[in-house]
């Protein structure tokens, strides 16, 4: 058996298993955490290098910042609510009222996730813009001189775009959760005389709750961070935190202010991210097939 036996070399030093995690950690540290820490330094020390909270307080207390924060939150919460509602309804039909091609639709949704977010914003200007498809049609039909539909350049335009873009992020975990609901459960419930609404309420909704919460918190995070849509729609009154950072840094070259806003923005995002992790961990959302 000597020809086959593998012998361990007794002299070799056993490396701790954590050692292998060091190279990617170093890469991430140098390219991500180090730059992130410099944002904090810039925010607190400014260009002069003296620690001061005065400028920080000034920026955070400013009208511009508070408006930005308010818009960011209102848009994120409204868009998330819309995504949850729309995502639930669409997933319900795909999963429980099966039709030919339902699988293909599921694939299309997955593909939609991969497309850039500003595509929708661009499309919406063609549809809902003042000289877009909808307004032109209505003006022609009703013989109006002014465009009747005018919401695109308000926060509603942003919210509607974000609902369109982020609904697939809710549908993915939902469809995974629905696929775990056994068909026999629904059949038994039907045979016991339960009507569809009752089945949705008492069987499907409880099963989907973890996925809804996980998908919803992910949506909240992504909508708070969204930049492309807001930039493309370019409504004057709708300034969110990411857009504010962009304006300050790129248009006004005011890096210190940009960094202060970024600190708040990052903190908000990390808070939402923790919420998401907790939701996923507590509700066994890992089974719901999230990335």
């Amino acid at each position: 058996m000597a020809d086959l036996a593998v012998t361990s070399s007794p002299g070799s030093v056993r490396l701790p298993p954590g050692i292998w995690a060091v190279p990617p950690l170093l890469v991430l540290g140098a390219l991500f955490f180090y730059p992130l820490s410099l944002i904090l330094r810039q925010a607190l020390f400014g260009d002069e290098g003296a620690f001061s909270l005065a400028h920080f307080g000034e920026v955070v207390g400013s009208r511009l910042f508070l408006d930005g924060l308010y818009h960011t939150l209102v848009i994120a919460v409204s868009a998330t609510a819309g995504c949850l509602l729309l995502g639930f309804v669409l997933s319900l039909v795909i999963a429980f009222v099966p039709f030919p091609g339902a699988k293909l639709v599921g694939r299309l949704i997955d593909t939609f996730i991969a497309l850039p977010t500003f595509l929708v914003a661009l499309a919406f200007t063609f549809i809902y813009g003042s000289s877009g498809l909808l307004n032109e049609s209505l003006m022609r039909l009703l013989d109006l001189s002014l465009p009747p539909v005018d919401f695109l350049y308000s926060q509603w335009g942003v919210i509607l775009s974000e609902i369109t873009v982020y609904t697939p992020f809710v549908m993915r975990p939902l469809l995974a959760a629905f696929s775990l609901v056994e068909a026999s459960q629904i059949e038994v419930a039907s045979s016991l005389g339960a009507k569809p609404m009752r089945i949705v309420r008492q069987i499907i909704l409880p099963a989907a709750l973890p996925a809804l919460i996980a998908g919803g918190s992910l949506c909240l995070l992504l909508t708070v961070n969204e930049f492309g849509i807001v930039l493309f729609i370019g409504a004057k009154d709708v300034i969110t935190l990411p857009l504010l950072i962009y304006d300050k840094a790129i248009q006004e070259f005011d890096y210190t202010t940009a960094c202060i806003i970024a600190v708040v923005n990052v903190a908000l995002s990390l808070g939402l991210y923790s919420l998401y992790r907790v939701a996923v961990a507590h509700l066994a959302g890992s089974r719901a097939g999230l990335v």
Binding site: L4, P17, G18, W20, A21, P23, P24, L25, V27, L28, L31, F32, P35, L36, L38, I39, Q42, L86, F96, V97, P98, L108, A114, P116, T117, F118, L119, V120, L122, A123, T125, F126, L133, E136, R140, I186, E187, P196, I199, N225, F227, G228, L231, F232, G234, L241, P242, I245, Y246, A249, I250, Y255, A258, A262, N265, S269, L270, Y273, Y276, V291
Partner: protein, 265 residues
């Protein structure tokens, strides 16, 4: 089967189909239509043209397509290596350090891309490393933003791999690197490919960080599309968006073919 009556089912389908068409069909259709329109002052374009695609095939736009594809491949490849490495390294760790490191590797996906761009701008405009105005900083930004997604995808694949495969391999005398090469990597290959596809798609569509840091001469498609639409050249922007979407889809479909073949084997 939730709805039993024929009429109810049809109603549900029609509603869903309408919603789909309205929410996803119309936007894509409109962009596609706009990319072919010569003039669009009425309900529909007055005439169709290929001029915008011809514009897109030459000059700046062609260069931008190239830049985006190169950036996407390079950043995705780097992220795939780094993310897979991290996911593999974390696999054998104890519970607590693994959870902590898992969160650390996921954090970049939670930070807004504009802030990542700003951070890189601040960090690499000062010593010790000056990268501001180089192509490298764009690559770094894309790498950072997508690394969490590749890590997540590969980690998910590894988590789904029953531990018995590796244990049996080990009991049969396979050393760590041999197990990695012959058992683990082939078995998670579909996840590696999926991770690469997702990274590539995300990189192709990245705008927030890129717009903060791109140097002249290394303009990605989304930045190009934004500046076109900002200038009012929305039909050219549409054509470029179509090219962006199609090239992304082409890569995704191609890779998913390979992936499904790998899964069948």
């Amino acid at each position: 089967m939730l709805v039993w009556s024929k009429a109810g089912r049809v109603l549900a389908w029609v509603t869903a189909a309408l919603l789909f068409a309205l929410i996803y069909g119309v936007p894509i259709g409109v962009i596609a239509l706009a990319s072919f329109s010569g003039q669009w002052n009425d309900v529909l374009p007055s005439h169709l043209t290929l001029a915008h695609y011809i514009n897109a095939m030459r000059g700046d736009s062609a260069e931008q397509t190239q830049v985006s594809i190169i950036t996407g491949f390079a950043a995705s490849a780097a992220a795939l290596i780094c993310g897979s490495w991290a996911a593999l390294a974390l696999r054998n760790l104890m519970r607590l350090p693994r959870r902590v490191l898992d969160v650390i590797f996921f954090v970049p996906s939670a930070v807004p891309s504009v802030s990542v761009g700003l951070a890189l701008l601040v960090a690499f405009s000062q010593p010790p490393v000056l990268l501001n105005g180089t192509r490298a900083i764009v690559l770094i930004a894309h790498f950072v933003l997508i690394s969490a997604f590749t890590y997540g995808n590969v980690a998910a694949g590894l988590a789904r791999l029953p531990p018995e495969y590796e244990q049996v391999a080990e009991s049969l005398g396979a050393r760590p690197f041999y197990r990695l090469r012959r058992v683990i990597l082939p078995l998670v290959a579909p996840y590696l490919i999926a991770a690469f596809s997702l990274s590539f798609a995300l990189s192709m569509g990245e705008l927030g960080a890129t717009v903060m840091i791109y140097p002249p001469g290394w303009v990605t498609l989304p930045v190009g599309i934004f500046s076109l639409s900002d200038r009012g050249a929305i039909f050219d922007a549409s054509a470029l968006t179509m090219i962006l979407a199609l090239s992304t889809l082409l890569v995704l479909v191609g890779l998913s073919r390979i992936s499904s073949r790998a899964a069948v084997r």
